[in-house]
Symmetry: C2
Subunit: 470 residues, 2 copies
Amino acid sequence: MTPDEFREHGHALIDWIADYVEGIEQHPVASTVAPGDVRAALPPHPPAEREPFDAIIADLDRVIVPGLTQWQHPSFFAYFPSNTTYASILAELLTAGLGVQGMSWVTSPACTEVETLMLDWMLELLGLPQRFHSQSATGGGVIHGSASEAALAAIVAARWRATGGAVNRTGTDPSLIAYATSQAHSSIEKGLRIAGIGTEQIRHVPHDQNFAMQADAFAHMVADDLAAGRHPFFVCSTHGTTSSLAFDPTPEIAAVATANGMWLHVDAAMSGITALAPEYRWVNNGLDLADSYCTNPHKWMGVNFDCTLFWTADRAALLGALSILPEYLRSKAAETGAAIDYRDWQVPLGRRFRSLKLWMTIRDGGVATAIQMIRRHVNLTQQLAELVRNDDRFEIVATHQLNLLCLRLRAGDAATDGLIDAANATGQALFTRTVLDGVTALRFSVGGRTTEEHHVLAGWQLLQSLVPTA
Amino acid sequence: MTPDEFREHGHALIDWIADYVEGIEQHPVASTVAPGDVRAALPPHPPAEREPFDAIIADLDRVIVPGLTQWQHPSFFAYFPSNTTYASILAELLTAGLGVQGMSWVTSPACTEVETLMLDWMLELLGLPQRFHSQSATGGGVIHGSASEAALAAIVAARWRATGGAVNRTGTDPSLIAYATSQAHSSIEKGLRIAGIGTEQIRHVPHDQNFAMQADAFAHMVADDLAAGRHPFFVCSTHGTTSSLAFDPTPEIAAVATANGMWLHVDAAMSGITALAPEYRWVNNGLDLADSYCTNPHKWMGVNFDCTLFWTADRAALLGALSILPEYLRSKAAETGAAIDYRDWQVPLGRRFRSLKLWMTIRDGGVATAIQMIRRHVNLTQQLAELVRNDDRFEIVATHQLNLLCLRLRAGDAATDGLIDAANATGQALFTRTVLDGVTALRFSVGGRTTEEHHVLAGWQLLQSLVPTA
């Protein structure tokens, strides 16, 4: 592709994307393809000759778009909020066009320094404790690809600190014990497993009727493990669980963790961004005692995936766990301590210039837009809850302070499962299912950039219309 | 940003990128900023009001570009090849514009199925063994963000298989032993460390004068560890080491690994793509006995970072290690085995639609272009070697079959270090340094999309001109 072809095709692709995004309601929310359909519509072998760009664009309409679950559809009520802004799409284009590596400061200083500044801007915008600021004595922040990677980073930092660094020489200590509720995200268990911490070393702390951790039970479990000669080293407190947006009581958890020298990671992937709006600053409750924290602009701030913000108050432990310095990566800037090498803050070595997504979103007015959107989503969810309460075929099965409503049919699990399947099969909306203390629930997650009242009402009416008559 | 503003700004940004890429030789290859300069040129606090898009573009020219190491510059001879094509830039734009998640098949079927097909296309294009094909009995492939993540995936799969899955319950076994040479990429030690395998469980197998593993020494070390009651479980064979592009003898390593039930991971991040050209198929030597393999289209195929191809011949071990299935991620498609859920093939849960980069690059004629580029780079490197041999102030310190030449001044380490610093300070070219068996070397890596003979000659003449006279 020549530069002139790039200009021509690039302009066409920009227009194609605008048409796609603006026309997204034409498509069923969930793809109707069966496994294998997409592959079968494409050549089994790579082409021998160059194809015209128009043929690629034609395949987008013919094969790719019909094979998508439309995450940007305003009636997408599944999984988690997805609300990509146009500014962040352009930022990804820019990241690709610059084509630089940010693994070390020296491999592209702007990539590192804009990222550090964006973490500090976000700290200010979210009202987070100064102990996470890059210019604090011991803290700092970084962009990860996902909250899963952030959790793994927290786990290995915790493990390093708990063993005084010995883990790097002698491997994982089987006495190390980690704690979370069954409502914590699956990435916590996955991260522990990757780090060589088996399920026998993981405690599921009981939760209360709101699916929040029982801090007194946590304290007892820690005491029991200590009495048995084991070594409690890590606890995850979740601010907005995936199943029901429950909030663990971080101040009480922190008291136990601090008293026992444990690492406290707060996973606010789903809901931490809510703190952009001053009236929701309570989602930060307890962070002044956390060792690490993460939240996802790619969930509720209009920034496209992947963009997880990860802060720690103990960067020495993180670097102790993840820093490796071969000769081909040495630089004077890093050795003098004047620069940050973000490769030591994460699993991968290579890094994209992802902070441009935050920089362009914030400068394009994205914070005010996100605050408006968050308020709209929360209000719509409360309005929806009122409607559900007025239909006695349904019940609400969890608290709903923010933008997720978990509901079910009083007729039972099978009826609820049937309703989810029937609703999704219409293509008019998409919901996901979860199980809360053994009971099937439909998750109605309100999070689209263009989701308005009529979309939520239509989603609810769709569910009502599909309830089987007894 | 409205859709109309997106069209307008998007067209402008496409043009800005074309201007940047075509004009890249105007910029020094390495940024001249000092630590802190980029940050100091930007506001310390986020803006209170929306800014015009023109102001953002202006800051690209004022702050961002001068703060970059220009990885796309034709005189960038540092680190590893970087040769982003225009087609892959557009593919990233498309990925961002679609804004979907590929963590499971059901979350966007096309995202999974195009990825699987691209791995099968690449298998065919590279001439890899059928045991890695997605339609083989036990194998398959996936896109990871980096070879570091691929290495970690291989390590946890190996650990799962070696322990018969017990690791998931009881954690990492301290008897597990891993093997690689000191020339293996730092991500191998980093991955082992993350997995809870300490340095006392890692053996640095001696290498020969070409920096390739000594297979007989490997066999002896394994025998010694077995005799001591330890459990050899993982070996990494590198096809193209980072420091000098050395190739470990995979067939001989495989013989030992297979005889002892060990997992053999072949890391060809740097050089595996060379197999696109039939005359270089020897880089695949021994892969028919490997358990896993990775190579990076983002290094030598024009695909922008991040795009690591990872194949395994034992997907059951990978899934055993990484699969976790909470209720909110269940789907009928996956439970019946009809679909792949790639979240179980990697550390993170979330996934971008990265296969579009391969799909668009290949269809835009990228394979033929890459083959031409690879041949040109190898030929230029051999031409360079001839010139270096004719200057007796210099010596070549490693074999150079492909596109990397390691050279040094006979005057010694300090002189070589001084030469690297002096050359880089001119901004006319960029080199990185390594140490090979205690000796400092300058790495001259020929890998730019637009790198031509005159760039390599100018780089060499620059080095010659800066040799201190004794």
